[in-house]
């Protein structure tokens, strides 16, 4: 891993503000929250999903369904990657039938992860709707995938790396470009 110079795009305050904004957009003033399920995509989509879900529950006093998706088995590049990835558990402990599912991930890039997540959710049943919320949209889509709720859109070069750090996984909230 080359030691690149890193540039902080979002500091912890900004990350917090963006998450609050996403919460407001997703909650849509508290309408039909009984049908809403938040599903985090491993790895960092999970703590984000947990925060979003917790904040909605606090604001509106409802209990939301929360799920975790490990998309390893649905990746389209399993035969190409050098290191065989470890499979972790997927936990969808509620019935997806007829639900409004909001997938949550930290970075939207090529769109392949989201495509895999959609395929996997559909193997659990038929939701009424699937939406996507991301902290950062960095462009360079390779599939026709778009997010419904975007924290921040940033321009990046294809070879740059965008790292999202979260308190739950990395000890602090920060988004950097290298």
């Amino acid at each position: 891993m080359t030691d690149r110079a890193q540039q902080v795009i979002l500091d912890s305050v900004q990350v917090g503000e963006i998450i609050t904004s996403l919460v407001r957009q997703i909650a849509q003033e508290g309408k039909n929250l009984g049908n809403l399920a938040i599903v985090g995509i491993r790895r960092r989509g999970v703590p984000l999903a947990q925060r979003i879900s917790a904040q909605i529950e606090k604001l509106y006093g409802v209990k939301l369904e929360l799920g975790i998706l490990d998309i390893t088995l649905y990746r389209d590049d399993l035969s190409l990657i050098a290191v065989q990835p470890v499979v972790h558990a997927t936990e969808i402990n509620f019935n997806v039938e007829g639900k409004r599912i909001v997938l949550v991930d930290d970075v939207l890039f090529t769109g392949r992860t989201v495509r895999a997540a959609i395929s996997e959710i559909l193997d659990f049943g038929r939701p009424a709707k699937i939406e996507l919320a991301v902290l950062v949209d960095r462009g360079h889509r390779e599939l026709p995938i778009a997010a419904d709720y975007i924290g921040k859109k940033i321009e990046t070069r294809r070879d740059e790396l965008v790292d999202v750090l979260l308190t739950e996984t990395d000890g602090e909230d920060k988004v950097v470009i290298r």
Binding site: Y74, L78, Q84, V86, H88, A89, T90, D123, F124, G125
Partner: protein, 307 residues
């Protein structure tokens, strides 16, 4: 840890980390069987061949289901009725199959070594579904997985394996796996069926189930084969059953949370009574379900290794 083996031939050569990786991966696959669509795509377009030189309905079905759940195409090749009977060598059979384009060959054979010889000549992955008395890695893995599910760990537990240890591939694979994960293993059976040499594997030997049953956290009861009795290695089924059969009386001396296991199929009334087999401590049916997850993990891991 990264899985680097293209084949799963036995537990003797695996490290503790490798065994743990399979068990952890199996954990993830357990959840797939609870979905409404019980399929995931990683082996889509891949071909898995069940090359069974020894008949076995259960293991074959288990592997078949596991492969299907991974979206693979499955072919069953029962060599007992095919060219092997005409005298085709093992290597020829396998090469013929491979040239049709297969990714995994699951081999079950009546004598040791067949999967190992095949792994040497085939580019495809080879998974040992039982080779004679030598090894049956996926069975031991599902046994250990079942223990881990209930007890949270394997290290420090005492596990007894009861039966015809000398001829048992299930026993051998379990001994390797359990010892590597830090369990104590007690081998129980008649002295004619439990060779003392097994002590060199670090296992304890006892010719009395009553003496050791109170120390066990899990008891794995092996099926007693009628051929052994016919070969005169023990005098009668009745005597075996009296001395080593797991019945309600013996269970009184066992720990209240002991796990009762059996690789199946059960000889009801011989090595285990129906009351115990169907009783509250029995996890025999769970073993079958876990077998599916473990075999999915095995197929997933071996195919993930780049040639």
């Amino acid at each position: 840890m990264e899985w680097t083996r293209k084949d799963l031939l036995g537990l003797q050569e695996l490290s503790q980390e490798e065994i743990t990786t399979i068990l952890d991966t199996a954990q993830s696959f357990k959840e797939v069987s609870t979905r409404s669509i019980r399929k995931v795509p990683p082996l889509r377009g891949k071909v898995v061949v069940n090359l069974f030189f020894e008949p076995s309905t259960r293991t074959r079905i288990s592997f078949e289901l596991a492969a299907s759940r991974l979206s693979a195409d499955v072919i069953n090749f029962e060599a007992t009725t095919s060219s092997a009977a005409k005298g085709e060598t093992l290597t020829d059979t396998a090469r013929n199959i491979e040239s049709m384009g297969v990714d995994v060959v699951v081999v079950r054979h009546s004598v040791p070594g067949a999967p190992h010889r095949l792994a040497k000549v085939l580019c495809a992955s080879v998974v040992n579904a039982g080779d004679g008395s030598h090894e049956h890695p996926t069975q031991a893995l599902l046994d250990i997985f079942t223990i881990r599910q209930h007890k949270g760990k394997v290290e420090g537990l005492t596990v007894a394996i009861v039966g015809d240890i000398g001829h048992s591939r299930v026993a051998r694979s379990n001994i390797w796996g359990l010892k590597k994960l830090g369990a104590n293993v007690i081998l129980v059976g008649p002295s004619t069926l439990v060779p003392t040499k097994f002590k060199e594997l670090g296992a304890e030997i006892s010719y009395s189930l009553d003496d050791v049953i109170g120390r066990c956290d899990a008891i794995n009861v092996l099926r007693i084969q009628l051929e052994r009795q016919e070969a005169g290695l023990f005098p009668s089924i009745r005597e075996y059953s009296r001395l080593f059969g797991l019945n309600v009386e013996r269970m009184k001396r066992a720990k209240p949370d002991v796990l009762i296991m059996h690789p199946g199929p059960i000889n009801r009334g011989v090595e285990i009574t129906p009351q115990v087999a169907d009783g509250s401590r029995s996890v025999i049916l769970e073993q079958v379900a876990n077998g599916l997850a473990v075999r999915m993990a095995a197929l997933y891991l071996v195919t993930s290794v780049k040639r």
